[in-house]
């Protein structure tokens, strides 16, 4: 095995085919970085989902003296007896669906409100404790299946103004992320197809450019392996260079874009560097696999012994 010879041939092939090689590298870089972005999205969505899954609650708002709902208008503010009743129901018949149910009094909710809106003193100033409803914060055992039924039941209890399912708010957010992910993956798939065709074409051109060399190689009895290896390595090197660019792009995507996106959502779900490295490694394997196998199949067609 003469590595020097092989690499010399590879170098000649890449240089003679410079424009095609550059096109190949660019397409591989873009498709791999899009694929990687898609995978980062998937991870982000998964992480976010897992984060919220353990925190999602039903908020059961009770009537305050200022509440607007019809139920409250009829009965006025919630009474201690009604609160006790709801508490009993939650701990009794609905027990199997619920992990925990915490009562948040108006005073506690008010304190929380003041804290959350500390940056808007005007809002706090014109709001009074009366206007902030007391509530039960319910954590469900199985959010997806039970949120609907539990909401319906609890909504009927006297003194309940409104039941809000936190996950319904999140679902829109998930839809957005899922949509973005699907779009990115579809584009990446198309680009990967383009990359495959480009690899095939580049290798074919390369084989054509060097048909004189390869015909002599075959004539003097070079093995298939020796004839084909330079082309194979050529495809793989283009793939690797493309992957290096893709790695740079992915680090940038993670650094500027995903992290920027996260800053809009204060409940920090950050992608770790491990996630990024995992995605980069998957991109490398994909790149090498695509370039290597396409070169190999192309060579079987165009460089027969």
């Amino acid at each position: 095995m003469r590595a020097q010879f092989v690499f010399h041939e590879v170098w000649i092939g890449l240089r003679r085919n410079l424009t095609m090689t550059i096109a190949l590298i660019v397409v591989v870089a873009i498709s791999l970085s899009l694929l990687g972005t898609g995978l980062l999205f998937v991870k982000q969505v998964d992480n976010t989902r897992a984060y919220w899954q353990s925190r999602v609650q039903l908020s059961v708002y009770l009537c305050s003296s200022q509440a607007f709902s019809t139920e409250c208008a009829k009965n006025g503010a919630v009474t201690q007896a009604e609160i006790a009743n709801i508490q009993q129901q939650l701990n009794g018949p609905l027990k199997n669906y619920i992990v925990s149910a915490t009562y948040v009094s108006q005073a506690q909710a008010w304190a929380q409100f003041k804290q959350e809106f500390a940056n808007s003193p005007t809002l706090v100033k014109y709001t009074s404790q009366d206007q902030i409803p007391s509530s039960f914060e319910i954590k469900l055992r199985n959010t997806e299946a039970d949120a609907g039924p539990v909401t319906n039941i609890v909504d009927g209890y006297p003194g309940v103004a409104e039941v809000v399912d936190d996950s319904s708010i999140l679902n829109n957010f998930y839809k957005l992320l899922d949509g973005a992910r699907t779009a990115v993956v579809i584009i990446a798939a198309f680009l990967l197809i383009a990359a495959i065709l480009l690899v095939a074409n580049t290798i074919r051109l390369s084989a054509f450019n060097r048909r004189r060399e390869t015909s002599i190689m075959r004539l003097v009895g070079a093995s298939n392996f020796y004839v084909q290896l330079p082309f194979l390595v050529e495809g793989m090197i283009a793939g690797l260079v493309g992957w290096l660019f893709a790695t740079g792009l992915l680090v940038a995507v993670k650094g500027f874009w995903l992290n920027g996106l996260q800053s809009y959502f204060p409940y920090g779900v950050t992608l770790s560097s491990t996630d990024l490295i995992e995605v980069i490694i998957i991109a490398m394997i994909t790149g090498l696999l695509i370039c290597g196998s396409t070169s190999f199949l192309t060579l079987r067609r165009y460089l027969r012994v």
């Binding site: 010879f5 002599i216 004539l219 009895g221 012994v305």
Partner: protein, 229 residues
């Protein structure tokens, strides 16, 4: 060394076979001229020996190997034992004399030390001393053919196939080429040369096999190009 047993080769979409029922033996160390008009099957014969084509019928043995039983995997090893020279030289234009010859050894994975030793020897053998740095376009046709012969012979093949090696070369230079082929033959290498060149065949007085329409019409030791009675 080369054994054809009732070999017929028909190319697809062609009515007449390129070779028909050819049986012949070429012994080790022989020098054989293959003569006949264009399309008589000379090139097909050479391609069959190299296993670039498969016979439609019949058996071929080359260097003790039954070609029908030789897997594709092993074909390169067969070709390492066969040197080839062509009318159009087939040199690499971007490599000099030394590199062109060394290429044949590099691609079969020979160590560099070996290459450094044998390439100068074979350059001397074909009479190109002092021209190892020349590029092909700086050489005459005869000199280019010498490079091609050096490349074909550098791995010491047991058989040398030459397809019209003097076809692009003037008669005076051809004599030099024939001398090199004769020298190679004297090392024990079997030489099969397809040619149109009557003067050369007549002057060498070697075995002559004449093909016509794919059939052997004459096989004569110490023969001449034209019909001899």
């Amino acid at each position: 060394m080369i054994h054809f047993d009732n070999v017929t080769k028909t190319y697809p979409n062609q009515g007449r076979p390129a070779l028909e029922n050819v049986s012949l033996d070429v012994e080790k160390g022989e020098f054989v001229f293959l003569v006949g008009p264009s399309g008589s099957g000379k090139s097909t014969f050479l391609r069959l020996v190299l296993k670039e084509e498969r016979p439609t019928e019949g058996r071929i043995h080359v260097a003790g190997k039954d070609l029908a039983r030789l897997t594709n995997w092993k074909v390169p090893h067969l070709r390492r034992r066969i040197g080839c020279v062509f009318q159009d030289f087939r040199l690499l234009p971007n490599k000099n004399v030394y590199q062109n010859i060394a290429f044949a050894l590099e691609v079969i994975g020979k160590p560099r030390r070996f290459i450094k030793k044998v390439v100068p020897e074979v350059i001397d053998l074909v009479g190109l001393e002092g021209k190892r740095e020349r590029m092909p376009d700086e050489l005459s046709g005869g000199e280019q053919q010498r490079v091609a012969m050096a490349r074909a012979f550098v791995n010491r093949p047991t058989i040398l196939l030459a397809d019209e090696p003097t076809g692009n070369i003037d008669p005076a230079t051809s004599i030099g080429i024939m001398k090199v082929l004769d020298r190679i033959n004297r090392t024990g290498t079997t030489v099969v040369m397809a040619t149109h060149d009557a003067a050369i065949v007549d002057s060498m007085r070697k075995r002559v096999i004449e093909l016509e329409y794919g059939k052997v019409v004459r096989d004569q030791s110490r023969g001449v190009y034209g019909q001899a009675y």
